[in-house]
Symmetry: C2
Subunit: 209 residues, 2 copies
Protein backbone atom coordinates (compact mmCIF):
# COMPACT_ATOMS: atom_id res chain seq x y z
CA UNK A 1 0.00 0.00 0.00
CA UNK A 2 1.02 3.63 -0.44
CA UNK A 3 1.94 5.85 2.49
CA UNK A 4 -1.42 7.64 2.17
CA UNK A 5 -3.28 4.36 2.67
CA UNK A 6 -1.00 3.38 5.56
CA UNK A 7 -1.84 6.73 7.13
CA UNK A 8 -5.59 6.23 6.69
CA UNK A 9 -5.56 2.63 7.92
CA UNK A 10 -3.68 3.40 11.10
CA UNK A 11 -4.88 6.93 11.77
CA UNK A 12 -1.27 8.15 11.80
CA UNK A 13 -0.53 11.41 9.95
CA UNK A 14 1.98 11.08 7.05
CA UNK A 15 4.55 13.46 8.64
CA UNK A 16 4.46 11.30 11.80
CA UNK A 17 5.05 8.13 9.74
CA UNK A 18 8.04 9.82 8.09
CA UNK A 19 9.32 10.90 11.48
CA UNK A 20 9.10 7.31 12.82
CA UNK A 21 11.04 6.06 9.77
CA UNK A 22 13.76 8.67 10.31
CA UNK A 23 13.97 7.70 14.00
CA UNK A 24 14.29 4.01 13.13
CA UNK A 25 11.00 3.09 14.80
CA UNK A 26 9.45 1.92 11.53
CA UNK A 27 11.14 0.09 8.64
CA UNK A 28 11.36 1.90 5.31
CA UNK A 29 8.88 0.73 2.69
CA UNK A 30 10.00 -1.08 -0.45
CA UNK A 31 10.87 1.57 -3.05
CA UNK A 32 8.56 1.45 -6.08
CA UNK A 33 9.27 4.71 -7.87
CA UNK A 34 11.10 7.95 -7.20
CA UNK A 35 9.84 9.21 -3.86
CA UNK A 36 7.33 6.36 -3.53
CA UNK A 37 7.43 3.21 -1.43
CA UNK A 38 5.22 0.24 -0.74
CA UNK A 39 4.11 -0.60 2.81
CA UNK A 40 2.63 -3.85 4.09
CA UNK A 41 0.86 -5.43 7.04
CA UNK A 42 4.03 -5.35 9.17
CA UNK A 43 4.01 -1.54 8.95
CA UNK A 44 0.38 -1.44 10.03
CA UNK A 45 1.15 -3.69 13.02
CA UNK A 46 4.16 -1.63 14.06
CA UNK A 47 2.23 1.65 13.87
CA UNK A 48 -0.52 0.13 16.03
CA UNK A 49 2.05 -0.95 18.60
CA UNK A 50 3.63 2.51 18.63
CA UNK A 51 0.22 4.06 19.14
CA UNK A 52 -0.51 1.90 22.18
CA UNK A 53 2.90 2.60 23.65
CA UNK A 54 2.50 6.34 23.17
CA UNK A 55 -1.17 6.74 24.05
CA UNK A 56 -1.81 4.05 26.65
CA UNK A 57 1.63 3.62 28.21
CA UNK A 58 2.48 7.28 27.67
CA UNK A 59 6.07 6.42 26.65
CA UNK A 60 8.50 9.03 25.41
CA UNK A 61 10.00 8.61 21.94
CA UNK A 62 13.34 7.79 23.64
CA UNK A 63 11.85 4.88 25.59
CA UNK A 64 9.85 3.81 22.56
CA UNK A 65 13.10 3.57 20.61
CA UNK A 66 14.54 1.20 23.24
CA UNK A 67 11.46 -1.03 23.24
CA UNK A 68 11.40 -1.20 19.46
CA UNK A 69 15.17 -1.87 19.31
CA UNK A 70 14.62 -4.85 21.61
CA UNK A 71 11.81 -6.08 19.35
CA UNK A 72 13.91 -5.64 16.19
CA UNK A 73 17.18 -7.03 17.53
CA UNK A 74 18.32 -9.63 14.97
CA UNK A 75 20.46 -11.85 17.18
CA UNK A 76 18.04 -13.41 19.61
CA UNK A 77 19.99 -15.62 22.02
CA UNK A 78 16.61 -16.83 23.07
CA UNK A 79 13.32 -15.16 22.48
CA UNK A 80 12.62 -14.95 26.18
CA UNK A 81 15.65 -12.67 26.60
CA UNK A 82 14.10 -10.32 24.13
CA UNK A 83 10.83 -10.27 25.92
CA UNK A 84 12.81 -9.45 29.05
CA UNK A 85 14.69 -6.61 27.38
CA UNK A 86 11.59 -5.14 25.83
CA UNK A 87 9.75 -5.29 29.14
CA UNK A 88 12.66 -3.76 31.01
CA UNK A 89 12.60 -0.76 28.69
CA UNK A 90 8.94 -0.21 29.60
CA UNK A 91 9.68 0.42 33.27
CA UNK A 92 11.00 3.63 34.71
CA UNK A 93 14.57 3.48 36.09
CA UNK A 94 14.17 1.58 39.37
CA UNK A 95 14.88 3.55 42.56
CA UNK A 96 17.66 2.75 45.05
CA UNK A 97 18.23 -0.95 45.82
CA UNK A 98 19.46 -2.29 49.17
CA UNK A 99 21.64 -5.38 49.64
CA UNK A 100 18.99 -6.86 51.89
CA UNK A 101 16.25 -6.59 49.30
CA UNK A 102 18.48 -8.16 46.65
CA UNK A 103 18.96 -11.09 49.06
CA UNK A 104 15.21 -11.31 49.54
CA UNK A 105 14.60 -11.47 45.80
CA UNK A 106 17.32 -14.14 45.40
CA UNK A 107 15.77 -16.23 48.20
CA UNK A 108 12.29 -15.82 46.80
CA UNK A 109 13.25 -16.74 43.23
CA UNK A 110 15.17 -19.72 44.55
CA UNK A 111 12.26 -20.97 46.63
CA UNK A 112 9.80 -20.47 43.77
CA UNK A 113 12.17 -22.32 41.45
CA UNK A 114 11.94 -19.57 38.85
CA UNK A 115 14.56 -19.45 36.11
CA UNK A 116 15.18 -15.73 35.89
CA UNK A 117 18.43 -13.78 35.68
CA UNK A 118 19.38 -10.86 37.84
CA UNK A 119 19.16 -8.53 34.87
CA UNK A 120 15.73 -9.86 34.03
CA UNK A 121 12.58 -7.77 33.61
CA UNK A 122 11.16 -7.36 37.05
CA UNK A 123 14.19 -8.55 39.04
CA UNK A 124 15.71 -5.12 39.62
CA UNK A 125 12.34 -3.40 39.87
CA UNK A 126 11.22 -5.97 42.45
CA UNK A 127 14.36 -5.30 44.50
CA UNK A 128 13.70 -1.55 44.26
CA UNK A 129 10.07 -2.06 45.34
CA UNK A 130 11.20 -4.12 48.35
CA UNK A 131 13.76 -1.46 49.27
CA UNK A 132 10.99 1.17 49.31
CA UNK A 133 8.90 -1.18 51.50
CA UNK A 134 11.80 -1.69 53.93
CA UNK A 135 12.10 2.05 54.29
CA UNK A 136 8.46 3.09 54.43
CA UNK A 137 6.32 0.15 55.55
CA UNK A 138 6.09 -0.43 59.30
CA UNK A 139 6.67 -4.19 59.30
CA UNK A 140 9.16 -6.00 57.06
CA UNK A 141 7.69 -8.41 54.53
CA UNK A 142 8.49 -12.03 55.44
CA UNK A 143 9.61 -14.59 52.89
CA UNK A 144 6.30 -16.40 53.43
CA UNK A 145 4.35 -13.26 52.57
CA UNK A 146 6.50 -12.73 49.49
CA UNK A 147 5.87 -16.36 48.52
CA UNK A 148 2.12 -15.72 48.58
CA UNK A 149 2.59 -12.81 46.16
CA UNK A 150 4.89 -15.02 44.07
CA UNK A 151 2.31 -17.82 43.83
CA UNK A 152 -0.37 -15.35 42.79
CA UNK A 153 1.98 -14.02 40.08
CA UNK A 154 2.57 -17.61 38.92
CA UNK A 155 -1.16 -18.14 38.68
CA UNK A 156 -1.49 -14.99 36.58
CA UNK A 157 1.34 -16.08 34.26
CA UNK A 158 -0.05 -19.60 33.71
CA UNK A 159 -3.45 -18.13 32.94
CA UNK A 160 -2.07 -15.43 30.64
CA UNK A 161 0.46 -17.57 28.76
CA UNK A 162 -1.35 -20.81 27.93
CA UNK A 163 0.39 -24.20 27.74
CA UNK A 164 -0.01 -24.28 23.94
CA UNK A 165 1.71 -20.92 23.48
CA UNK A 166 4.05 -21.44 20.54
CA UNK A 167 6.99 -19.08 20.23
CA UNK A 168 8.24 -20.56 16.97
CA UNK A 169 5.03 -19.76 15.11
CA UNK A 170 5.66 -16.05 15.01
CA UNK A 171 8.42 -14.80 17.22
CA UNK A 172 7.81 -11.16 16.48
CA UNK A 173 4.12 -11.42 17.25
CA UNK A 174 4.98 -13.08 20.56
CA UNK A 175 7.22 -10.16 21.49
CA UNK A 176 4.64 -7.62 20.41
CA UNK A 177 2.04 -9.39 22.52
CA UNK A 178 4.37 -9.47 25.52
CA UNK A 179 4.80 -5.71 25.31
CA UNK A 180 1.12 -5.04 24.59
CA UNK A 181 0.14 -7.46 27.35
CA UNK A 182 2.24 -5.56 29.85
CA UNK A 183 0.94 -2.15 28.88
CA UNK A 184 -2.71 -3.13 28.49
CA UNK A 185 -3.18 -5.66 31.30
CA UNK A 186 -1.28 -4.03 34.17
CA UNK A 187 -3.98 -1.36 34.58
CA UNK A 188 -6.67 -4.10 34.54
CA UNK A 189 -4.94 -5.99 37.36
CA UNK A 190 -4.26 -2.91 39.49
CA UNK A 191 -7.79 -1.54 39.05
CA UNK A 192 -9.29 -4.89 40.03
CA UNK A 193 -7.08 -5.08 43.13
CA UNK A 194 -8.20 -1.61 44.20
CA UNK A 195 -11.84 -2.53 43.65
CA UNK A 196 -11.37 -5.78 45.58
CA UNK A 197 -9.86 -3.79 48.46
CA UNK A 198 -12.86 -1.46 48.58
CA UNK A 199 -15.23 -4.44 48.60
CA UNK A 200 -13.18 -6.17 51.31
CA UNK A 201 -13.14 -3.04 53.51
CA UNK A 202 -16.91 -2.61 53.15
CA UNK A 203 -17.52 -6.26 53.94
CA UNK A 204 -15.37 -6.22 57.08
CA UNK A 205 -16.98 -2.97 58.28
CA UNK A 206 -20.48 -4.40 57.63
CA UNK A 207 -19.61 -7.56 59.58
CA UNK A 208 -18.98 -5.46 62.66
CA UNK A 209 -22.06 -3.25 62.58
CA UNK B 1 8.87 18.54 69.87
CA UNK B 2 10.20 21.68 68.23
CA UNK B 3 10.24 22.13 64.47
CA UNK B 4 14.01 21.53 64.46
CA UNK B 5 13.53 18.09 66.02
CA UNK B 6 10.64 17.29 63.65
CA UNK B 7 12.96 18.20 60.79
CA UNK B 8 15.78 15.95 62.10
CA UNK B 9 13.46 13.02 62.88
CA UNK B 10 11.85 12.98 59.45
CA UNK B 11 14.73 14.24 57.33
CA UNK B 12 12.53 17.06 56.03
CA UNK B 13 14.12 20.54 55.80
CA UNK B 14 12.42 23.21 57.96
CA UNK B 15 11.45 25.41 54.97
CA UNK B 16 9.75 22.37 53.41
CA UNK B 17 7.82 21.71 56.63
CA UNK B 18 6.67 25.34 56.65
CA UNK B 19 5.66 25.04 52.99
CA UNK B 20 3.56 21.92 53.72
CA UNK B 21 1.82 23.76 56.58
CA UNK B 22 1.04 26.72 54.30
CA UNK B 23 -0.33 24.35 51.64
CA UNK B 24 -2.55 22.60 54.20
CA UNK B 25 -0.72 19.27 53.84
CA UNK B 26 0.42 19.29 57.46
CA UNK B 27 -1.49 20.55 60.54
CA UNK B 28 -0.06 23.55 62.40
CA UNK B 29 1.71 22.70 65.66
CA UNK B 30 0.29 23.76 69.02
CA UNK B 31 1.54 27.31 69.73
CA UNK B 32 3.84 27.42 72.76
CA UNK B 33 5.50 30.86 72.51
CA UNK B 34 5.77 33.64 69.99
CA UNK B 35 6.90 32.03 66.76
CA UNK B 36 7.23 28.59 68.36
CA UNK B 37 5.01 25.56 68.14
CA UNK B 38 4.93 22.04 69.45
CA UNK B 39 4.74 19.06 67.07
CA UNK B 40 3.86 15.47 67.89
CA UNK B 41 3.87 11.93 66.51
CA UNK B 42 0.99 12.71 64.10
CA UNK B 43 3.24 15.27 62.38
CA UNK B 44 6.02 12.71 62.07
CA UNK B 45 3.59 10.18 60.53
CA UNK B 46 2.20 12.69 58.08
CA UNK B 47 5.65 13.81 56.93
CA UNK B 48 6.62 10.17 56.36
CA UNK B 49 3.49 9.62 54.29
CA UNK B 50 4.19 12.74 52.24
CA UNK B 51 7.74 11.52 51.62
CA UNK B 52 6.55 8.17 50.27
CA UNK B 53 3.96 9.82 48.08
CA UNK B 54 6.52 12.26 46.68
CA UNK B 55 9.53 9.97 46.37
CA UNK B 56 8.04 6.56 45.66
CA UNK B 57 4.77 7.44 43.95
CA UNK B 58 6.26 10.56 42.39
CA UNK B 59 3.08 12.57 43.03
CA UNK B 60 2.84 16.27 42.33
CA UNK B 61 1.98 18.64 45.21
CA UNK B 62 -1.44 19.14 43.58
CA UNK B 63 -2.24 15.41 43.68
CA UNK B 64 -0.74 15.13 47.16
CA UNK B 65 -3.15 17.82 48.32
CA UNK B 66 -6.10 15.79 47.04
CA UNK B 67 -4.91 12.60 48.73
CA UNK B 68 -4.32 14.38 52.03
CA UNK B 69 -7.68 16.18 51.81
CA UNK B 70 -9.35 12.77 51.47
CA UNK B 71 -7.43 11.52 54.51
CA UNK B 72 -8.30 14.60 56.58
CA UNK B 73 -11.95 14.90 55.59
CA UNK B 74 -13.91 15.19 58.83
CA UNK B 75 -17.29 13.88 57.71
CA UNK B 76 -16.65 10.27 56.87
CA UNK B 77 -19.91 8.77 55.61
CA UNK B 78 -18.10 5.50 55.95
CA UNK B 79 -14.41 4.98 56.20
CA UNK B 80 -14.38 2.84 53.08
CA UNK B 81 -15.58 5.84 51.05
CA UNK B 82 -12.55 7.71 52.23
CA UNK B 83 -10.20 4.96 51.28
CA UNK B 84 -11.86 5.02 47.88
CA UNK B 85 -11.44 8.77 47.50
CA UNK B 86 -7.83 8.71 48.61
CA UNK B 87 -7.03 5.87 46.22
CA UNK B 88 -8.82 7.58 43.36
CA UNK B 89 -6.63 10.64 43.80
CA UNK B 90 -3.55 8.44 43.38
CA UNK B 91 -4.46 7.39 39.83
CA UNK B 92 -3.95 9.48 36.74
CA UNK B 93 -7.14 10.70 35.05
CA UNK B 94 -8.49 7.57 33.32
CA UNK B 95 -8.48 7.63 29.50
CA UNK B 96 -11.60 7.42 27.31
CA UNK B 97 -14.30 4.98 28.46
CA UNK B 98 -16.64 3.11 26.09
CA UNK B 99 -20.24 2.14 26.89
CA UNK B 100 -19.37 -1.48 26.23
CA UNK B 101 -16.54 -1.55 28.76
CA UNK B 102 -18.77 0.07 31.40
CA UNK B 103 -21.26 -2.76 30.77
CA UNK B 104 -18.45 -5.31 31.15
CA UNK B 105 -17.41 -3.84 34.49
CA UNK B 106 -21.02 -3.79 35.69
CA UNK B 107 -21.48 -7.46 34.69
CA UNK B 108 -18.22 -8.48 36.28
CA UNK B 109 -18.88 -6.69 39.58
CA UNK B 110 -22.36 -8.18 39.65
CA UNK B 111 -21.11 -11.71 39.06
CA UNK B 112 -18.34 -11.34 41.63
CA UNK B 113 -20.89 -9.99 44.11
CA UNK B 114 -18.67 -7.02 44.95
CA UNK B 115 -20.23 -4.05 46.72
CA UNK B 116 -18.55 -1.20 44.90
CA UNK B 117 -20.01 2.01 43.51
CA UNK B 118 -19.48 3.33 40.02
CA UNK B 119 -17.43 6.23 41.37
CA UNK B 120 -15.29 3.83 43.37
CA UNK B 121 -11.52 3.61 43.21
CA UNK B 122 -10.73 1.31 40.35
CA UNK B 123 -14.20 1.25 38.76
CA UNK B 124 -13.57 4.03 36.25
CA UNK B 125 -9.92 3.08 35.76
CA UNK B 126 -10.95 -0.53 35.09
CA UNK B 127 -13.46 0.65 32.47
CA UNK B 128 -10.74 2.80 30.88
CA UNK B 129 -8.32 -0.15 30.87
CA UNK B 130 -10.93 -2.36 29.20
CA UNK B 131 -11.62 0.34 26.62
CA UNK B 132 -7.91 0.42 25.74
CA UNK B 133 -7.96 -3.39 25.45
CA UNK B 134 -11.01 -3.29 23.15
CA UNK B 135 -9.18 -0.90 20.89
CA UNK B 136 -5.68 -2.40 20.90
CA UNK B 137 -5.85 -6.08 21.85
CA UNK B 138 -6.67 -8.50 19.00
CA UNK B 139 -9.30 -10.57 20.83
CA UNK B 140 -11.92 -9.19 23.20
CA UNK B 141 -11.65 -10.29 26.83
CA UNK B 142 -14.52 -12.62 27.75
CA UNK B 143 -16.45 -12.32 31.00
CA UNK B 144 -14.92 -15.65 32.06
CA UNK B 145 -11.41 -14.31 31.55
CA UNK B 146 -12.29 -11.17 33.47
CA UNK B 147 -13.69 -13.38 36.24
CA UNK B 148 -10.33 -15.13 36.55
CA UNK B 149 -8.62 -11.75 37.02
CA UNK B 150 -11.34 -10.78 39.49
CA UNK B 151 -10.85 -13.95 41.56
CA UNK B 152 -7.10 -13.36 41.66
CA UNK B 153 -7.73 -9.79 42.85
CA UNK B 154 -10.04 -11.16 45.55
CA UNK B 155 -7.33 -13.51 46.70
CA UNK B 156 -4.89 -10.60 46.92
CA UNK B 157 -7.36 -8.50 48.91
CA UNK B 158 -8.17 -11.28 51.41
CA UNK B 159 -4.47 -11.87 51.94
CA UNK B 160 -3.63 -8.19 52.27
CA UNK B 161 -6.54 -7.15 54.48
CA UNK B 162 -6.82 -9.84 57.14
CA UNK B 163 -10.11 -10.94 58.72
CA UNK B 164 -9.18 -9.29 62.04
CA UNK B 165 -8.56 -5.90 60.41
CA UNK B 166 -10.22 -3.40 62.73
CA UNK B 167 -11.19 -0.04 61.24
CA UNK B 168 -12.47 1.41 64.52
CA UNK B 169 -9.10 1.03 66.23
CA UNK B 170 -7.44 3.80 64.30
CA UNK B 171 -9.32 5.06 61.31
CA UNK B 172 -6.63 7.43 60.19
CA UNK B 173 -3.96 4.77 60.34
CA UNK B 174 -6.17 2.51 58.25
CA UNK B 175 -6.45 5.19 55.59
CA UNK B 176 -2.74 5.90 55.66
CA UNK B 177 -2.04 2.20 55.24
CA UNK B 178 -4.48 1.96 52.36
CA UNK B 179 -2.62 4.72 50.55
CA UNK B 180 0.84 3.41 51.45
CA UNK B 181 -0.25 -0.11 50.55
CA UNK B 182 -1.29 1.04 47.10
CA UNK B 183 1.88 2.98 46.41
CA UNK B 184 4.32 0.45 47.88
CA UNK B 185 2.74 -2.87 46.90
CA UNK B 186 1.64 -2.20 43.31
CA UNK B 187 5.26 -2.25 42.07
CA UNK B 188 5.85 -5.52 43.97
CA UNK B 189 2.89 -7.19 42.27
CA UNK B 190 3.71 -5.90 38.78
CA UNK B 191 7.41 -6.82 39.08
CA UNK B 192 6.52 -10.34 40.23
CA UNK B 193 4.09 -10.77 37.34
CA UNK B 194 6.78 -9.72 34.86
CA UNK B 195 9.26 -12.13 36.44
CA UNK B 196 6.69 -14.93 36.39
CA UNK B 197 6.10 -14.26 32.68
CA UNK B 198 9.82 -14.54 31.93
CA UNK B 199 10.00 -17.81 33.85
CA UNK B 200 6.89 -19.14 32.09
CA UNK B 201 8.25 -18.22 28.63
CA UNK B 202 11.59 -19.93 29.40
CA UNK B 203 9.83 -23.01 30.68
CA UNK B 204 7.56 -23.37 27.65
CA UNK B 205 10.50 -22.82 25.27
CA UNK B 206 12.60 -25.42 27.15
CA UNK B 207 9.73 -27.94 26.98
CA UNK B 208 9.85 -27.77 23.20
CA UNK B 209 13.61 -28.11 22.66
Amino acid sequence: MKISELSRTTGTPIPTIKYYIREGLLARGTPTATNQADYDESHVQRLRLIRVLREVADLSVATLTQVVAALDHPEARARADHVATALRSLSPEPGPISERSLDSVANLVDRLGWEVDEDCAGYQSLAAALTALEEHWPSPLTLDQLMTYGRIAERLASFEIPEDWNPSESANDALTYAVLGTVLFEPVILSLRRLAHVDRHRRLIADRL
